[in-house]
Symmetry: D2
Amino acid sequence: MKPTFRLILDCPDRVGIVTCAAEFITRHNGWILKASHHSEEESNWFFSRVSVDARSLPFGIEGFRNEFAPIAREFKMNWRIVDSSVPKRVILMVSRESHCLSDLLDRWRNSELECQIPCVISNHEHLRGLVEFYGIPFLHVPVTKENKAEAFEKMVALIEEHRADTIVLARYMQIIPEWVCERYPTRIINIHHSFLPSFVGARPYHQASTRGVKLIGATCHYVTADLDEGPIIDQDVVRVSHTDRVDDLVRLGKDVEKVVLARGVRDHLEDRVMVHGNKTIVFK
Amino acid sequence: MKPTFRLILDCPDRVGIVTCAAEFITRHNGWILKASHHSEEESNWFFSRVSVDARSLPFGIEGFRNEFAPIAREFKMNWRIVDSSVPKRVILMVSRESHCLSDLLDRWRNSELECQIPCVISNHEHLRGLVEFYGIPFLHVPVTKENKAEAFEKMVALIEEHRADTIVLARYMQIIPEWVCERYPTRIINIHHSFLPSFVGARPYHQASTRGVKLIGATCHYVTADLDEGPIIDQDVVRVSHTDRVDDLVRLGKDVEKVVLARGVRDHLEDRVMVHGNKTIVFK
Amino acid sequence: MKPTFRLILDCPDRVGIVTCAAEFITRHNGWILKASHHSEEESNWFFSRVSVDARSLPFGIEGFRNEFAPIAREFKMNWRIVDSSVPKRVILMVSRESHCLSDLLDRWRNSELECQIPCVISNHEHLRGLVEFYGIPFLHVPVTKENKAEAFEKMVALIEEHRADTIVLARYMQIIPEWVCERYPTRIINIHHSFLPSFVGARPYHQASTRGVKLIGATCHYVTADLDEGPIIDQDVVRVSHTDRVDDLVRLGKDVEKVVLARGVRDHLEDRVMVHGNKTIVFK
Amino acid sequence: MKPTFRLILDCPDRVGIVTCAAEFITRHNGWILKASHHSEEESNWFFSRVSVDARSLPFGIEGFRNEFAPIAREFKMNWRIVDSSVPKRVILMVSRESHCLSDLLDRWRNSELECQIPCVISNHEHLRGLVEFYGIPFLHVPVTKENKAEAFEKMVALIEEHRADTIVLARYMQIIPEWVCERYPTRIINIHHSFLPSFVGARPYHQASTRGVKLIGATCHYVTADLDEGPIIDQDVVRVSHTDRVDDLVRLGKDVEKVVLARGVRDHLEDRVMVHGNKTIVFK
């Protein structure tokens, strides 16, 4: 992969944004590898992700940041510039189920997910062996009714200590306290084992079986203080029938959970996901 | 298609049901073309659909009914025997949107849906031309706030007069009164333009757009007195993205509505759908 | 829909193309509604589709054409500018099967396909009634072994007479002569009833049944002189099983044919499809 | 899971097969958990899979075999009776790519695949660590142009020594010699990284990219002496677009390969797959 700078921005829509950003890059002889734009009509808001060959520019990321700042100010942009060669730091959190973890770690080792994983945190010991096989520190932080507040303070301390950009809940079966959700907006990614907004909350496969749906799904979303209500990054489904019992739904659902979580995490790591209200723009 | 007799039954599960039914057919030299069974473990209930080459049997449908009755009694079966060569009588109900109607009528003319359509009922005049092109009587029964009770009494009279087995709501945009739902259990089929149980009620595509889902769907279900809560026959979905506005969701959703409704109606017409509580068994 | 101008272009890739085009539009106070770009690395070729609010510009389509020409020359562009308010003229060609035709005509009447249909041409009389119901002239041009050359000359004369931009083969069961294919490059759209490149040629559902595939599909592509080898616009599949006989494959396949053809035609009509060698870029 | 006996049979179709088998089981007070039948009209052949609660029968598997033999003879059945509590013995063969292996091993550890894995054989050392982490012996059998015959003799010796029922080629990048294919009919399962019959042979993702298809797929099939021509067990696809380069196709395809191979292997292990000519019946 070529080293690239990713310019991510959103601002009120008006004439000239694309031109101004493009003109800036061209003026510095930058090679635009990919440019994606989106205009949200209702809110009159503009979103953009532009990736530029880093080697074509006369300056580094700091130079880009300084030079582009006046344009950003003029258009009132929320923006950032990201160096693709600096991997994000991702902490995985898991409980007892291995399918998402095993899938993510295999992808990570095969360079499909470009990130560092400073540690995996779990409220159980079950998955220590797998994590350590991949050479990643495994931190056991038990969570009980009694120690929940304390446990999450410890976890936040670990997140800070390891300078994590992103936390991935890979079937972590604890509800994240509100204050933690609010501390890391659009930085905590969860996989919910239903096709949201169907079957919010506990035991979605049981709910699905009771309702008699003919497809079940999984949803990857950013975690907010409203349980299972955060912005959706990706979803998918699989067909089921009357012959499938709850344990079949659980099994079939795992395949969807794995792939939807992996796609969502990958899109996040590549800075393809922008949040607008409670919705996402995902630039493919 | 060979003329077939379809034996449809359900009863408490126990040893010997399959054998007894099969033995009955074989004793009369009947050729079993297809046999499907399902045991619901939780409720300990058994379901079966067996189709037999009608020409291989020494009796007609009445003979079958008489001969099989003692076995049915022994096993406490809910059951029926259906002659595939007698087409069901189906009334379509529509409002202004043509996509489902046009799709169903084309399939009907191509013998994909084996039924008679004695008439199409609509609360609008828009689709008269299309219906009459296919040689089917079009009956306009306007529905207003004031005349709703009366209008539905008229429709029930029409259903009775035309001896309809099945009523298909092909995007009929009126809520069916409770008493009508209860009069025709598992005989009224609706297409709801969302992936139920997500987005019950009005304007589901607007709801889907607001929630920011990444797939939208449609659900074919039997109508019960609980709006959008009846047993689901079939569902499907299509991928959408942040670039799709509500009118795009409406357009993309139509393709799913059409195919899901047609599949559900076909399964119903071929006596493949059995209802158990609020769930369906669909024998493929 | 807002009237828009669509700027469609491709050229050798180099620094500054996006900037130059965007700057041109901005300089004239044009409002860019949507901009899509693609760089093909292997061939170092650049593709772009930009749609601009026509009312935001100080000139009409001719003015745009004149003003933009020097930029196009500089970058050695293949390009065109299209006025979305001028509907394309589309001739449908059909044989005996109604499913694609009926589906396209219903979409057309519902304004899902923005085009004029000056006539439908068929080698059979079967579908005259349906076409005339929609108020479209139906032209019967019989094709036999003996008159094939003559018949296609007549059809080309009709295409010219009706100034058709696009010809859609909606299950037209005749092979188009090479000289006709070459006369209308990327203007004849076909639906092939298999997932190409599987099952080229005749009776693809029979071929699929013989091979025992577990999914069947359909492919919408531009027609070239190489049968079933033209650039693919869209494809899709549906699951089948050992219980499906050839006539079931035919029936299930129709649902895929309809939707794939409609999507391909719509993308073509909206100038979203660009051809590069034997592949397509489809800007969504 | 309840211990079950699975009766798998096929024979010329005629009246009475279902009855006779069902009557046999009922006579011995056997509880039929699931019964699936299929009649292939063209060849007039009948297929069946019946699973019986083993504890409801008065005899063990040998008793079943002896008692059922006369019926089997009468109907000229190919048949076997399988004890679900005796796990099959499966050897996995891999090369360098970990995605299918990692996926299968995680499923195996989670009891999704009920089998024993006496060893994994590879022509490379790359995946030793992963295999040994799961506590499975890893056997390195290098294959070169020079030693190919010898290497496969060694592998067959290993297959025999470990009494393997099934060999799964989980992205094993060597062509299996004809004599090995013929020695283990319907016992060697391969995952081919294309939607067969498209893109037979080497580098299917490159072929797919060149052809410009809009969906790519994977195919799980039994290995026969005809490369990539064996009976298909399962297939699936994923959507791609012009933005996906070959390495994207490779990455996206892996997700399909994993799930299709796992489904095929699971169906095989549960004796759901029957082969008829070059096609499969897969009883779900």
